[in-house]
Symmetry: C2
Subunit: 245 residues, 2 copies
């Protein structure tokens, strides 16, 4: 499908990840079809924006009839590449690492925690939810077999960059970084920084100030106060094929 080969702008990707989360929840509750208005109430993204975002899938859905929940979930899963099993490495078996392992959704998104690493001798050899904690020194050897492309850093700031370098050297091209430091990475590597304190700082502003409202054409009938990713983009970047690659 040609549309799926197009580059999707980041704000749209973030909204799509919100939609699929909502769709999974709806599917779990046995809901078969959903309207864009219902998705607005559920996701916090306007119905108009939702319909625009679905243009990534070409012609799809019909006004007044709604969208098939499972079908839409599968299309988004395919676009996000979460419709096939992917190995993930986790570095850091402390409180955060343990919380991440316990996070629901790994299986639904077909991610598999292939290995957990830590440098603490007290942790190495133990298991967390039946996943053994390996010596961080063995990272390269382990990933030579596993071949994971994705890794999560749940370690302190001081060692995040050096461990990131080792992961990249061993074939990882995508990193989720929870360490409170901005990682430097080569161009072929994608880093998503999860900055908890940044979230608090953004919230701190938003509870005291009005947020810029979308233009009237994008107006959100639910009148929610912008709880999610990017409902505030005035106009989504056009998906012109000439802009791509």
């Amino acid at each position: 499908m040609a549309a799926e080969r197009d580059a999707v702008p980041l704000p749209a990707l973030e909204r799509l990840s919100t939609y699929i989360r909502c769709l999974m929840q709806l599917e779990h509750e046995g809901v078969v079809s959903v309207s864009s208005q219902e998705m607005e109430a559920f996701s916090g993204v306007s119905a108009a924006q939702f319909r625009k975002d679905l243009s990534y899938f070409g012609e799809f859905g019909k006004r007044g009839i709604g969208y098939n929940v499972q079908d839409l979930r599968e299309r988004i899963a395919h676009l996000l590449n979460v419709d096939q099993e992917q190995n993930v490495l986790l570095v850091g078996a402390g409180n955060l690492g343990s919380a991440l392992i316990a996070y629901p959704g790994w299986r639904a998104y077909r991610f598999k925690i292939a290995a957990v690493f830590d440098r603490d001798p007290a942790k190495i050899g133990t298991t967390i939810r039946r996943i053994p904690v390996q010596d961080l020194a063995d990272l390269e050897t382990a990933n030579a077999t596993i071949g994971a492309k994705i890794a999560i850093l749940a370690i302190p700031a001081w060692e995040a960059q050096s461990v990131a370098n080792r992961l990249i050297e061993s074939g990882v091209t995508g990193l989720i970084n929870f360490a409170p430091i901005k990682l430097q990475a080569p161009k072929h590597v994608t880093v998503r920084e999860v900055c908890f304190i940044c979230e608090l700082a953004i919230l701190s502003h938003l509870i005291h100030h009005p947020v810029a409202e979308p233009a009237p054409a994008e107006s959100n009938g639910a009148g929610h106060s912008a709880p999610e990713g990017e409902p505030l983009i005035l106009e989504p970047p056009a998906l012109s094929p000439s802009d791509l690659t």
Copy 2:
């Protein structure tokens, strides 16, 4: 300062939270001034975007001279409202809650964990880093005294909505939600959802597909692969006073 009363769009806020994090790190390292090109290399946001974002502070900085790190950090801190102490409630004293308490940055951003709540009798009465864990049943009583406006939910999905309702009832207007469920909240409440599995899903797409590039005028010389918040906005929403409220 009039400019600071303007509504700042969410993508700009997210970039500002990245800048202040970088500036704090630079300040910590003793760096006195920084150029927009250096900020680009450090933050992953283009120098052009950085300069545009600083227009929220009116005339500031001079081409070729650079920005005073402390001054810029203080201006952003003021805009984000992290230049004065704010009480924060944390609900959930499990692995995630413990990791959040240990997260560096609370003091630098002047957030104070005023109370930690859990429903687990084994946790109630214990302390985490000298902060006592209180009974979740006492939430309303406690916040009648504390008056916190910000709360963090580090609890399972099944109880997140009901606890959020109680927090809102007790005066909280800003929530960071780590529970894997989309919260519903009244209009006066701002919710920031931190969806770990969404981050993984977005990364999963990005490592297999090109991301939409910014327009040439916004081109990022560093050629990084969009590691942060919103470097892909083609044109930042104009800060026209007539759009504001």
